[in-house]
Amino acid sequence: MSLSACGVSFAVRSAQLLHDVTLKVEPGQLLAVLGPNGAGKSTLLRLLSGEASPTGGAVRLGEADLHAWEPQDRARRLGVLPQSSALNFPYPVFEVVLMGRLPHARHSDPVRDQRVAWECLERVDATHLAERRYSTLSGGERQRIHLARVLAQLDGGAGAADEPRFLLLDEPTSALDLAHQHLVLRLAKELTGEDFGVLAVLHDINLAALYADRIAVLCKGRLMRCGTPEEVLTKHCIQSVYGVDSTIICHPTTGCPFLIPHPNVAPEIELANPKLAADHSE
């Protein structure tokens, strides 16, 4: 079973946000999606999560079209960590994590739900926040709480489940300090060992190179490259996608590619189409 976008396109009014993108999230793999602002990364995520329907092509979870799944069955296999969440009410943190157990309402009991939620809090290093009010947390703490919530949704506690599950992360490290950036990506990597397929939209190319099994690069709504970090992260690719000159070296301990951007941005850099970016941010 895998989560796949098969030739998907997405258009809003006259703006074509994605053109014919084919991408597969396989269990056991961490796939990083890179690309400049307005490249269509978040749109791709919205299509893969079933939040929006593609205007062309199809998104499949296993053999079936994603939209043919019963919502709760889908939610037990496919979880999404949003970039930020507008939670206005002062829920205690532990209740926020417990919300992740909603799709298990018919398959679980409160004691099990609480145990799983607790284990997931442990996995994101946040048990000390359990009784705090969500509204009093910092941005990075909130991000980790939501990660725990999505893990609880996918039964990602200590016990292993017997079927593949898919986790979509939308810039999971944007609000985190260095230690927690690595905690989250190491956790994502660890989950791939538990039959998870993980897709992470990232901005930090070096973080992607360190943890991802495969990297997909989007630009102007098209999939430019998809492959291992070594295949994808080349001087030429970075130049053509971001318009930034760089040197690629070998990471001193892992040997994976490491990008060092050059200080002077080329003057002919073509910024993302402003119309595309405006429609995209809706």
Binding site: S49, V80, S85, F89, T127, L183, L187
Partner: protein, 377 residues
Amino acid sequence: MSVTTLPRPAEATAGTAAPERLCAWAARERRKRAAVLGGLTLLLAALAMISVATGAVSVSPAELGAIFLGKLGLTTSVEASRVQEAVIWSIRLPRVVLGILAGATLAIGGAAIQGLFRNPLAEPGLIGTSSGAAMAAVIAIVAVTHLPFTLPAAAMSWIVSLAAFAGALAATFLVYRLSLVGGRTMVATMLLTGIAVNALAFSVVGLMMFLADDAQLRTIAFWNLGSLTPANWSSLAVVAPLMVIACVALPMMGRAMDALALGEAEAHHLGVAVQRVRFLTVLLVALSVGAAVSVTGVISFVGLVVPHLLRLAVGPNHRLLLPASALLGAALLVGADLLARTIAAPAELPLGVVTALLGAPYFLWLLIRERERGTLL
């Protein structure tokens, strides 16, 4: 586990402490739920009993018991007079029952709409339900006298109620439809549409008041301030089922509403059929609040304050908030009605005036206190 290599905050507990903390948390939640729901039920029962026993015709607790047992075919040593029995059975009891149902409906409707819009300022009034009812009722009050024939008073009150109910439904669904953009509900659009519909409705109310004669003005004023006086068993038989259905069905959507608090997209990711929950909630609130308002007139403060007050006291979890709102709303309305008809007896204050006079200063005090504590919202 990999996280153990990270420096952990000092207050993080060792592995063995976790289950104990978890058990304590779960036990505390269970106790809180039982205490809140039990306490509010007792409060409501006490207020209902006092309300039934209080009034121009005095009835002792023993006589009250005799009347209820008598209805069940049991005789007791205490005899209640026929007048007492008639007053209790056909005036006070339907009035208290209407108070309970209308209060519960308004408060649970407020809690549901606030949850749906993730906005503690929302209430059924904000999506057009109350103003639509008021507009239609006022039009009916003025238009009925322009008919070529005279209607009996009973028929007139039925027409006004029906118009109010239809107005509540029509205004709510107008707001709901206009805020549907490509199959998704835009919360900001919905609130703005609600404000526009409210403005339109109130301008029509103003226009009708301009056209109305003195007697109609009194009826309009009475209707706009709310009252439980119109309560009787035959009107209750019509509106009670709608209100009971809402009070039973809305708490069942508590978990979905908790998920909606995270955001529409997040609720979708959690497997909530967002559009269905939204449509059902708006439908249930429009039907039940429309039914309540069609009999009592506009009582606007309950739906806003009760859920807010409870959220500060018991937290935002909708599985507790929704039933607790229903109970506290019922208690508040029964208590306010008791005050309204005793404080200036034999005259009767308008109910909406009492709820606002009591509720608004308390609400302000609560807001000031919460602001000082920094726990607002």
